[in-house]
């Protein structure tokens, strides 16, 4: 094979990326067009009506945008008290030890469990628990989905945060110790501020994951199409409404679901982009 052919071959393979991504956007935009045209872009995003009675079809994305934001935010809140200790355990307290590598293997395995199994476990273990504790009568809902979602994003947030915590220069830590600080004080005053932007960006990427998570949420959120009025009520996220109704949808409803997909695609793309840029910056500094 000569060099020219080789270069062409690599280039053609690399073209796969723009083709696939362009195709994704093109397919979403063309099929979402009908819904946006029919309801108007902002009207579609801010309407909370989702009814498919023939002749009086009304579709709006607000309940699902709300559902997505609620589950993501709650999952983040539940995730922090666990992912931060794991990051400190692996990246600072037990850095480089066997114990740390055992814990990171555990979190790696957690990250490897398919989301459908998380959903199944949530459905048969967590949901009855929520019912038994009288938190909500049906067991499923925003809260249940968020709890499982939190477990799912802990590994991502933790392993990335740990990476940044590990990178805090030893010079700085020793400098702080030499002034008489305890380990906890070094962590609070040196490690967190120095690794802060990196830790922050790892949570942004965790949010990116939670936003688009589909199966777990679909199985646990309760699948109702109204705006959830509390964290224990049922609802739907953008991903779960698609998973739920795409198979039976046609025409305007089909287009509306694609439109929701398009919005979700852009939200996750923007969040991921912000996260990646922040991580690049944090790695350089």
């Amino acid at each position: 094979m000569n060099d020219k052919l080789y270069k062409v071959l690599l280039f053609v393979a690399a073209l796969a990326m723009p083709i696939v991504c362009g195709g994704v956007v093109y397919a979403l935009v063309t099929d979402a067009y009908e819904a946006f045209e029919h309801f108007g872009f902002f009207k579609f995003l801010t309407s909370s009506e989702w009814s498919y009675t023939e002749g009086a079809e009304q579709y709006g994305a607000l309940p699902f945008i709300t559902g997505t934001l609620m589950t993501t935010l709650l999952a983040l809140i539940f995730c922090i008290p666990f992912s931060l200790p794991v990051a400190l355990f692996v990246g600072e307290y037990f850095k480089g030890t066997k114990t740390a590598s055992v814990l990171s293997t555990v979190t790696d395995l957690l990250a490897g469990i398919p989301s459908i199994i998380y959903g199944l476990w949530g459905f048969y273990t967590l949901r009855p628990l929520i019912m038994a504790l009288n938190i909500s009568p049906q067991g499923s809902g925003i809260l249940t989905a968020s709890l499982v979602l939190a477990i799912m994003i802990v590994p991502y947030a933790a392993s990335l945060s740990a990476e940044f915590i590990k990178m805090v220069p030893n010079d700085l830590k020793e400098g702080a110790y030499s002034l008489g600080a305890t380990h906890a004080e070094v962590i609070r005053n040196i490690v967190f501020p120095v690794a802060g932007s990196g830790i922050f960006s790892s949570y942004i990427l965790a949010i990116g994951r939670a936003l688009g998570e589909t199966m777990t949420v679909t199985m646990l959120i309760g699948n109702t199409n109204n705006i959830p009025d509390s964290i224990t009520s049922t609802g739907n996220s953008m991903a779960s409404i698609i998973a739920n109704q795409f198979g039976e949808a046609s025409d305007l409803r089909f287009s509306s679901l694609i439109a929701i997909g398009l919005v979700l695609f852009f939200i996750t793309a923007i969040i991921n982009m912000i996260g990646k840029i922040m991580i690049k910056r944090a790695r350089i500094s």
Binding site: G175, Y177, S178, G196
Partner: protein, 255 residues
């Protein structure tokens, strides 16, 4: 005669990184108050290891063992609480490392912040001014106190780190090759500064620069392979070393 107890005394101090090998072997020496003592020796001789033992830096690493005694004002620090010892024994490292997330002002006060000690605004201002003046940095930075410490030049950063250590009013200041990362002008600055500082604090400095040792110190130690070979007045050691190994090092035949 002044106080009989030396401010710092090594008594058969040993440091080992692994079970088999000792990096510092049975060092015994008494350091006098308000002096500058230089610790010299070829690389790997254990001079930094000995220095780091004085503020219990080795406690941070579970594999390292320190045996024997190190007495600070007659008290064995090896049985004391590390955070207590470290407040009384300041340290300046080889590479200047001001805390990058703190301003120059906060860097000087970082010891207090780290120790959870609250100061009034006037106390803070006073401490910052006093410490920065004592390291001759005040005039250069007084208008940019809120800038990050990492904007300063290497020599300025190192002086800031000295100021940071001095702010805690330590009895002893340990300096681990503090000028090896600096240019000659910044080095001269810091050497001058040390002469000033010895009025208030006892300085122990590790250096591999013989000229520096001669210029600044009144006492010198020569270490070789973990042992303290020779300890005495700097002038005497340089003009008439009593040990062959010291002689070989000082004449450039070793190291």
């Amino acid at each position: 005669m002044e106080s009989i107890t030396p401010i710092l005394e090594f008594n058969k101090t040993c440091v080992s990184y692994t079970k088999q090998t000792m990096a510092v072997k049975y060092v015994s020496a008494a350091i006098e108050r308000n002096t500058i003592t230089a610790i010299m020796g070829p690389s790997g001789c254990g001079k930094s290891t000995l220095l780091r033992a004085v503020n219990l830096m080795h406690n941070l690493y579970p594999n390292i063992r320190v045996d024997g005694e190190i007495l600070l004002n007659g008290e064995n620090i090896l049985s004391m609480e590390p955070i207590d010892v470290r407040r009384r024994v300041g340290m300046v490292f080889q590479r200047p490392a001001p805390f990058p997330t703190m301003s120059i002002y906060d860097n000087v006060l970082s010891g207090y912040a780290l120790n959870g000690i609250r100061l009034s605004k006037t106390d803070k201002d006073e401490t910052v001014e006093r410490c920065l003046k004592s390291v001759a940095l005040w005039d250069e930075v007084k208008d940019v106190l809120n800038k990050k410490g990492t904007f300063l030049s290497g020599g300025q950063q190192q002086r800031l780190c000295i100021a940071r250590a001095l702010a805690m009013k330590p009895d002893v200041l340990l300096m681990d090759e503090p000028t090896s990362a600096l240019d000659p002008i910044a080095t001269a600055h810091i050497e001058e500064l040390m002469q000033e500082l010895q009025k208030d604090v006892t300085i122990l400095i590790v250096t591999h620069n013989m000229g520096q040792a001669m210029r600044i110190s009144s006492k010198s130690m020569f270490m070789y392979l973990g042992e303290l070979v020779e300890y005495g007045n700097t002038d005497a050691m340089f003009s008439n070393p009593s040990d062959e190994r010291t002689k070989a090092y000082l004449t450039g035949k070793m190291g």
